[in-house]
Each structure stands twice: as C-alpha cells, then as structure tokens.
Symmetry: C2
Subunit: 200 residues, 2 copies
Amino acid sequence: MVETTRRREIESAASTLFRERGYSGTSVRDIARAVDIQGASLYAHVSSKQDVLWSIVERMASRFEAAADVVEAGDPGALVFGPRVQLMSLVRAHVRVLTDDVEAARVFVREWQALEAGRRDSIASRRDAYEARFRAAIDIGVEIGAFGDIDPALTATYILTALNGLVSWYSPTGRLSPRTIAEAYADLSVRAVQPPGGPS
Amino acid sequence: MVETTRRREIESAASTLFRERGYSGTSVRDIARAVDIQGASLYAHVSSKQDVLWSIVERMASRFEAAADVVEAGDPGALVFGPRVQLMSLVRAHVRVLTDDVEAARVFVREWQALEAGRRDSIASRRDAYEARFRAAIDIGVEIGAFGDIDPALTATYILTALNGLVSWYSPTGRLSPRTIAEAYADLSVRAVQPPGGPS
DNA sequence: CCTACCGATCGGTAGG
DNA sequence: CCTACCGATCGGTAGG
C-alpha cells in the first residue's frame, strides 16, 4: 500500500466502474480485472473496497474546497464588484473541478452515501459547509439589493444541484468545452438571482 | 402476480429501499422483509428484481409525460403569454410530480441506468423527448426575443437537473411545501433565461 | 405464500 | 502479486 502510481491506477479504474455501475454494483474483482491483477491481489494495494471509495470521495471534497478557497482569497475584485462576481467565480470554479475529472466527480456526487456512517457524516458536513459559501454570497446580494427577493438557501441548492447535474451528461469529447459550460452556467446562475428589473 | 394492492406494497417498499441503498445495494430479501414475507415468496408477486425497478421507473416516466401533456394541452394562456408562462408551467408540473412521490422519483432519476439495456434505452429516449419539450419552450423564447441569447439545449439541461436535484434533499416533512418550492423554482428558472434588461 | 435448495458470486484472509 | 480458500449472501427455481 505504498506504491502511489499503482494505487492511483486502481482508484482511477474504480472511479470509472463506480460511475458506470455504482459502488455496490461494482465488485472487487471488477476493479482488479480493470488493472489486470487477480481479485485477491487488490488487497496488496488497498485495505478494503470502502477504502477505495473513500479515497476518491475525499480527494474530490478537498478539490472543491480548495477551488472555493482560491476564489475567496484570491479575487481582489470581490469587494469591488460584490456578490454577483463572487457567485459567478464560485460557479466557474465548481464547474472546473467537475469537468477536470468527471468520473471521480460523479462518484463524489452520486456515491458518497455508500460510505460507512462515520465517513458519510464527515462528507455530509463538509458538503454543508461548502454549500454555505454559495449561500453566503447570495445572502449578501439579497441584503444589499443586488439580487432579487429570493430564498438564499433554496437558491443555493437550486444552483448547486444544476451544476452537479453536469456529472450525468458531461463528456470531455462532447460538443461543449469546460470553458463554454462554465461561462454559460455562471450566466444562468447569476441571472436566476437577479432582481426583477435586471442588474443595476 | 394478479393482486394489485400487494404488488403496489412491494413497489412502494422497493422504492424506499432503492432510494436508500440503490438498486444493486438492495437484495430481494431486503424487499421481502419490508413487506413481511420470505425472500422466495416475493416471486409469487413479481417475476424478477428488474421487473420491480421497471414498474417504478416506467410509472414515473408516464407521470412526467402526462403532466407535461396537461400543460401543453390545457393552458389557453400559453399562446397569449408565450414561452415565459409555458416554461413556468412546465417547471411547476415537473416539481409537482417529483414531490408527489419522492421515493419513486428518486429511483427514476438515479437508478434508471440499472435497467437492462433494452429498457434503459427506451427510458433514455423518453427522457430525451421530455427534455425536448422544455427545450422547445426555450427555443421559442429565444427566437422571439423574450429570452436572452442562451443555448437552449444547455439551458434546458441546467434547469431540469436543478429540478431533479430535488430528489436528493426534498422531504415531505421539511420546512418547504411543494407549492413554495414549485413557485420558487419556476421563478428562478424563468429568471435564468431572461434577457439582460429584464422581461419586457 | 412456505420450505428447501441451486449455482454463482460476494468481500476478504492465509500463506506464500 | 499469486493460489487456495473462507463463510455469507446473491437472484432465482422446484414443488408444494
């Protein structure tokens, strides 16, 4: 369980399989076959099937958090342009993480509930905290009147589920580039929170 | 396999289990236990586990189609008020079907890919046709300038995935009523397609 | 709807 | 990383 490249190979193969068949629809032998070893040999690299799922989900959770950190720390325009720009940046960052590794992203979005209780709870609260960052931007926008009179929590959920929906249709070889999608989704999201008269 | 009420009981119990653990994470014995019979006895009512999934998914597909039929046939205002009202009505109808039976809706949204190839393809094309009805409303709005300059296909996907996201958080006992959600989601969706200057 | 049973496969361990 | 193996469980059938 030391050699990192082999471990990554396994996680990558597992991501694809978990995405296609789900966590419980994928057997340890399926994963082993995908990396051309015997089923039992997989345990030379991982300690359990749960362990593989955890690695994938945990890594993706960290990526989303790191991307939001960059947005919140690095954008000097946030204070100038306010919640509109902040929300658009968060959306673009989220889409970028999703499209950077759709296989793993899909596992994160759809299979995290297959984690054992303790780990599942940990991911659940990290997801809540992450969603709160979107909610915060919307809160401010509503307060200062830059956004319409919307429910911030419900709106954050609406937007985030729309973004996460990407994992069920996006393909790197599809007609739309990650950039195009990120821009279109940022526009749609920011327009959804607009006040009736349009942006000021 | 005649008695309808028992069959419905089984499908309802299966919906809950499929929602919680996924199709492949649920055993035939799990379903049987939920309706208090022996595992093998389930086969007196259903012909296979796939069969149960199919019944749930097919029924939900029909409900979505029927709801959209009502919107398209029954609303005399559609011609007067145009694509804005049409889109809002489609959104409201979709949310209503989702909230009417979240357990089954979640199975429809998340487990239909566990169907065997033929049935999966059939559902896939019905989903495409359904999404096309949203796309059509958006197409018209863009053409006549009621909506902004957006990609109708991408926008329809954005909206529909946001709506379907409901299945991962909605609870009948939660703080938000189906009506409140339907109205908020219709507003958010219609604002997302708005032209820059706001509605005319 | 039950008991009894089927072959196949499951996640994982032992011991090299 | 392999062979050999473990007990448990899988979806489903036979026969009543």
